[in-house]
Symmetry: D3
Subunit: 259 residues, 6 copies
């Protein structure tokens, strides 16, 4: 079990701060507000490897573990991200057991997987015995975010080396024929979300989810999710500015723009 898995096993519910802005300054401000976990998003976030590395350096000494979402299930970027020293990795679009196995191959050292060895910064921050500890210390989450993935859920959960699942409500809704949104309302989508947590926990895995509001986070925790992410830094920033500006001009707040 990874440290995150152990943490969740005690019943702790973790609020995850989500960084989409490529800036060590906004990353630091985020990381000092009290989140339980932090994630740097290299997929939909406006962030590539080199920016993410610096942001990680800034956040890592602070208490909350820092994870990365990689842009795709591609071994090159997955390896670079892990070597940087992230505590965990979220991989989008794991739709089949084969997807999950390839993710495992890219993230776990032999004999379990085939991750290439060279943990340049990970060694520096996680200790010289990282070769021995990495396979159990780094959390790997498969994103469940399509109807196809739902159909394959138990088989995906059965892949050794995958610590848990992470739900993308927008893509899940879109894949099921609804408008993409971080706060789905369609019963079919809501049922799927509830079921994913149930089955993940039943399989002894962790479960996390992206959300669109503080209220949704609390609902997700009640459904069994171990951790939940709140919007993005960019969207909360835009909302805050729009709200303050509306207060000056005494107009109503405009709909927040941006993902």
């Amino acid at each position: 079990m990874t440290p995150l898995h152990q943490l969740f096993a005690t019943g702790t519910k973790a609020v995850n701060g989500w960084c989409a802005i490529p800036s060590p300054i906004t990353a630091e401000i985020m990381a000092r507000q009290g989140f339980d976990l932090m994630t740097i998003d290299l997929q939909h976030g406006l962030i590539d490897y080199q920016s993410a590395l610096t942001m990680l350096q800034v956040m890592q000494p602070l208490p909350a573990p820092v994870m990365a979402r990689v842009p795709w299930n591609e071994p090159g970027i997955i390896a670079k991200t892990l070597d940087a020293g992230f505590a965990g990795l979220i991989c989008p679009m794991i739709n089949t057991p084969d997807d999950a196995k390839r993710l495992m191959q890219a993230t776990r050292y032999a004999p379990l997987g085939a991750r290439s060895f060279g943990p340049t910064r990970a060694n520096l921050v996680h200790g010289a015995n990282y070769a021995q500890t990495a396979n159990t210390a780094v959390s790997v989450f498969a994103m469940i975010e399509t109807r196809e993935a739902l159909g394959n859920l138990d088989a995906i959960l059965a892949v050794e080396g995958i610590d848990g699942v992470y739900v993308g409500p927008s893509d899940l809704a879109l894949s099921m024929g609804y408008q993409p949104t971080l706060e789905p309302t369609a019963t079919e989508v809501l049922d799927a979300i509830a079921e994913i947590a149930t089955r993940a926990k039943a399989a002894g895995r962790c479960a996390g989810i992206h959300t669109g509001s503080p209220e949704m986070i609390r609902r997700m925790f009640a459904q069994g999710y171990d951790f939940a992410s709140l919007l993005t830094d960019a969207r909360m920033f835009a909302s805050a500015i729009a709200t303050q500006l509306a207060a000056v001009k005494q107009t109503s707040v405009e709909t927040v723009k941006g993902y």
Copy 2:
């Protein structure tokens, strides 16, 4: 009269977005929320020339004019900033008429001043006749933020080429013996703030001020200020994150950290 001066002459009250985060992404998000003016802060902001240049490039094509606050009344950085093509410049700590004259010398072309010619990007964005238009098109604001400056206010306002004043409430309060804050409450400080606007307008100059809240902006507009800045992007960002996180955890909002 500069375009800003002309704008204010019609009675328009401008809300100024204040950028302290060195990021073209946060700059763009700010600039798309509807501020009337934007300012990039090279003094207390975490921003130097090269970062400010890129941020300016991103914001300039959008409707709101973009100004810079320079770190100090030093000709090297003032000239570089103006050559980048800013629509206006705010200079801290103009405490004496001599300070104001040196500011004017650094910001105005001969025969009025002694600004060195080489408007590399300014020419590109403001047109090939920038040499002829710059002295009247670029706004220059002297910060009035010490007791000494108050004593010299009329003499500072009389310096040709200075378009107006900008009040720093924190430094003004500190200089007068009070705690520094963007929302001063001491009567002596409040009276000084009111008087600065009155005397600036009487001298035919513009007046701007930094504030700590939407409510204070409206009070300042009522006192005659032409434009007012709202906190900083960094502080509003930190507040917003803290507020959302408190909503998840159903705790009260912590005091916002950061200037």
Copy 3:
């Protein structure tokens, strides 16, 4: 039909500025010279995602739409590029209908394709209804640049969600057994280029091409191409410097170095 498609449908011929230099300054200078379209080249250009993002931010508010050429038909970088908010995307080496289908999958939201939802900056600049508009508002061009692609042209053109083709003359010549050049002279290559436009237009698709000179652009427009790119910023820059320096030294201009 995308906006570009609609534009071309009126008979407009668009000159495309091509950015290979990783700099928001050169990007801005390019974008202010009057091109009808702009493209940032992440394939052969010296530009990666993070640099391209900033360049896009600088160019997007200006009138010409900005496209990206991605380095490869790989879902990770394609999704990041689209989420940044580009108006169109050019993908190299689409040689088979299967290549084209995978490109479509990566660029179109369900139900047409499988693009993952999270348009962080695209939402900011294209509006909150981007989820509904993206599939028809973003142009996707498949590069036709091998003999194999020529053989599969009609099948590639038939893939729904591919708006048009973009010809790479250097690769096409190389693939057909000739020296790579932006201004091919071999009849076989010239015939292929002419045929691509004809068949693309017959299929109701747009057609663009890279060129090596202003004269070639006019020839390509006459052959039916909707838009054409002129060399690269880097090559035009090198040529210009060499020409000016030769004028000083009164020597003949050296052959321009660089792609």
Copy 4:
């Protein structure tokens, strides 16, 4: 034969400086210490394309040729790296002849391979006839670093366009069931390392290897290796600082942290 191949054919043994730190300053310091070759590591190094490009620009005019190790056998990043103008390329995890063929396809122009043409910076630094010279002037090394690759060694060596092999001792040891280390001691691993050089030379190919110490480099040269890399810049830097600090505090030197 590439220039490197020709060099090695004379019996020259080359010491390869290995850059994992993303900085043009450390790159320049490295490159001025007298290495015979330099490599920028985009796989386990903390370096992506844009950083590597600038580092290459700084090092290339100096005497030692500069190679890149790419993060993975993926055509997009391979092409970008070559277009930047590197003198050679090392690709990790070439385990099968098919891996080697795909590497060759991505690195060699037609008719041998299918590398896309557009050598933006390569043309600038290697001359206008790069289209004719690249296939024989750029060295391509396949990493042999798994038990599977050992089994396929002769078939990999037989792929035309692959100039040689590069051994990763850590991954090789890990794949064979031992702890990963740059200085393996298990006989089975040492025998494999010796055999790779022998078979590569027998096939008329070059052979290089990563090492953990100056002494190991000399042993590898004695076994027939043409070039060998010494640790990483990051690890030598950390060791040097720790050693100096221990000398101040008159403590024994701590075990060096970091890959």
Copy 5:
């Protein structure tokens, strides 16, 4: 008394790591080797404000306090540096009491000095009451490095708000007519160095010094210096690489190049 002052009052001798390389990666490696203090050099280091800010962010959460050496006694850069949140500041070339008073003015809030208020990041990391604590929590060191400064030493030490002195042996030697070196051997220079510590301590101030070797650090501690810096990261890096390369080639180590 600042925290550093209090620390030194207990007799603690601090080894100071000196960063001249503009890289968050080398900064982090340095900071994790066990120094008691860290300093980022914006004067002779290859580092400007924006780079220093990121390096500070990376190092600050680690145990050793981080100071900055500013490029000059200029209020603009001094204020920006302090607002970034450094624990201390070293200012070069304080040769007269007037220099020291201007340094104090720029670094201390009213009523003691005239530092402008706006501690954007300092507030974030040092707490919301930074306005009250900064004058006693931030250490300010005046560099004593010329014959003129020696003559004015007691007067400089008497300026309130200056916490101590920092000796630059190279400049001191050069100013006294000797070759500049971090390890002076001229008796006159050595005597001056000894005297500076004695008089600083007599005045109740701290004393630090730059050195050229671990041995010199121990001598300086014995003479009463509270903290001492060891060469630079750049010079130790170059030495380490040269030493390792010489070990490979079994040649003697070349003289280390670089300051």
Copy 6:
């Protein structure tokens, strides 16, 4: 005599490439076109110290010496620039002998001047004896660009340690009451330009000038100028793009925008 001075003493006329774009890529393209000298402009160029450092690293190994123009006669930035290892320095607005003496103080080591010692990169590239060679190896040019400077020309030329003058025609024209232009036509300005070269050469100093065209460079060489700069990279780039685009559209070339 500096190397540049010695070069000019033989009658060599040097064409100086002028970099205003903050990019190592454009810098490298410029530096490979055959200029005799290169200058990075930190004053009116869009370039600060950190960008200039990287550009210098890229250009320095190439044949042409690289100089910097600093933003102002301020010791902090002058010292940083010299420590980076530039071969020469151009300082704007040297209007009085006192300005020239302060420039000399900041650029020359004791006993001549008071430059602070710490040539971090200069040592690396110019050799370990830089302390001994710098005062005679680094060229320092005072800009003569105001009517006041003309009046003080002989006294400025008499300051030991100033190697020569550099004329800024735009500022000179502006200061004399004419429109600023790199190609002045007013007789009074032209006479002043001619006289500066004559008096500089009579005093045994070098003379350089900025120009607006290849033709003007040849005229300036005929008047005795040792070196001359051609426009800026930015302006030549903009002109080239505009010219090519006009050729496509068969319109006349627009007036080039930008300094």
